[in-house]
Symmetry: C2
Subunit: 254 residues, 2 copies
Amino acid sequence: MIKIVLFGAGNVASHLCTVFEKTSGIEVVQVYNRNLNSLSELPKNINKTTFLSEIKDADIYIIALPDDVISDFSESLPFKNKLVVHTSGSVAMEALSDNNRKGVFYPLQSFSKNRAIDFSEIPICVEASVTSDLILLNELGNKISNTITEISSEERKKLHLSAVIVNNFVNYLYQVGSDLLSEASLSFDLLKPLIKETALKIENLTPFEAQTGPAKRNDKKTIEKQLHLLKDSPHQKLYAEMTEAILREYNKDN
Amino acid sequence: MIKIVLFGAGNVASHLCTVFEKTSGIEVVQVYNRNLNSLSELPKNINKTTFLSEIKDADIYIIALPDDVISDFSESLPFKNKLVVHTSGSVAMEALSDNNRKGVFYPLQSFSKNRAIDFSEIPICVEASVTSDLILLNELGNKISNTITEISSEERKKLHLSAVIVNNFVNYLYQVGSDLLSEASLSFDLLKPLIKETALKIENLTPFEAQTGPAKRNDKKTIEKQLHLLKDSPHQKLYAEMTEAILREYNKDN
């Protein structure tokens, strides 16, 4: 039985709490959060506290708090030589306090409230300074996911950057599409099958192979027409630059 | 029975041929293509020709050829007063020859060779100058898809532009993510669950609600770190501009 104390009550903490709770071999012995209200949304049977002085004994202490408080929070923990990990994509393991053994348990996914997640498909990226801790984090990860990867803080930075690009930036493009349709009084639902297929396609094809459209085939006439359609839009610059980037990509050998 | 003659042997033509062939109430009486080789990849039982003089009689003639040849090709057809439609997102219906009755049958999806498509989920956008033709195109669309929408050429232009943004541009971002991971010797597979979840999320949430990440929460520290990580990369400008756009979007009221 791996005993866990979770710090935090946001999206990552609550999704982790949910999956740990239903997985045999893992026990969430306690969830800490400064604010009592947020804690009340977690399952009733779990021990909760708002006092660091009441923290129970555990095998792994998981800090699932905002990036900018992780370091200071880890310093404030009232115990020593335990395994303390964070769940952030962009914070180095070394940012954790030297008072305890350090590690990272980073689930590479975008968590939203009110949206269930199948953890078995989520890559869990682990890191630890002590080998036995790395083994324990691997064991924890393996209980909830099929993909556990050991990744250094340096590598994790680049992974997180790529995640921002394929998640946040992609989602922003969905919004631009939605805005343009709404200006034309058309429903965003029309684009949803295309959005889904675009994402599913790259499970078998590389993005390079999967590319289609006016920029890839250097169809200047369509590109001009679309730029014209955007002449009064704040999105014209985005269109021009993305098109330019794709044109470059597919004409590298010329 | 709706009798179809298809012109073309590319991705759209061959996917349409496949779905029409397996749908009761539709008969592909012939497929025309200038080039015999491409025709050979279509099902054996279908009548094929490379001669316009041999075109058979049909209820709907579907031109599934590149955008820039649709107009001239429609002029070259050796018959009059038939229903001739094209399948393009960006070509106006009026670009078709006046020799025949005009229409559009635009399946809003990105077709790739060697990738099967479930047509039932694909929105089909139809347009025709004659009401009885519009009814026939609706009937054809309904046999293969659950979503048929009547859309004018003006609306279709905007829809196609949005499709370029959520398909071609999004796929390009997948490629940027893949490039960055490959520079760090990390597998693109790590990002695939995130890519899939990002696309599936907007089936229930609006893109505005689904947004997360450093730009949305105005996390300047992470943004600075990621810009620094890209300091020698051709993608730094893209990162800066997408971040700026998201920052603007979520700080409109300030």
